[in-house]
Amino acid sequence: MAHFKLPRWFHQLGSPKWFYQFAGLLQPWLALISLVLLFWGIMWGLLYAPADYQQGNSFRIIYVHVPTAILSQSIFMMLAVAGAIGLIWKIKMAFIVARACVPIGASMTVIALLTGAIWGKPTWGTFWQWDARLTSTLVLLFLYLGILALYQAISDRQIAARATAILSLVGLVNLPVIKYSVDWWHTIHQPATFTLTQKPNMPAEMYLPLIVMVSGIYALFVLLLLLRTRNEILAQEGRSGWLTKLLQEGHA
């Protein structure tokens, strides 16, 4: 495996003790940022942005569907890369972060699917339409559920972390192939009908709230990730000395 020297901060990031405190400092700021951005984005998208001439107001669902769909894919990429870092450089923290990502990614994918289906009702008249994007989001959800199931199936945390890292890496490698094959399959069976989201040709006042919502949801993701990672550290590092000292001070 690759063993070239890593920068010092990368190793520092790897120590659970340092990460625990660093996350503790960062959380209040992140909470503030994500609250402001999300509130601003929701208000803007829901009440102030103009309706789409074709779809009317149901177009506003884009401000929830697109950010969650983007996030669900980038979280999957992140947890696969974290797993790879853990496997190659044997950094425990990478496995802990990967494990913390999974439930967040899964819940984002569920919301992306639900909002996509609900959006389909006014647009196509049926809740589920085998649209290329929705189908690949569904497959992504299966990948997440596979990882969650493997975590539950293996009791030993060390083995579970490595096994799921391999599973998510193979999943990541397959993701573009699956997306391509689903798009290819969609064009074969249905000529290009109205697809859910054409982002680029939206006028500015429709597009800007989307940017705000996407950045707000990323801030929220980092906040959730830090919180979950701290929980994982409590779960795994129970025995180490620094944690018991922290508990004594009552400031865990």
Binding site: L46, I111, W119, L234, G238, R239
Partner: protein, 58 residues
Amino acid sequence: MYFQSFMQAFHMNGHGVYVWGCYGLFLLMIAWNFWRIRKQRQLQLRRLLQVRSRQENG
């Protein structure tokens, strides 16, 4: 504001149910995530306190 009145904002000429429903689900998911995190945190802290008390008198 795009809508003249709050009533129209809720109605959104027919699409209101879907739009507000989606935003509601979105906020529900965020709330569920925070609630799960808080639950797990309490569980871990209780477990650690037990482990510490067991070590002290162990």
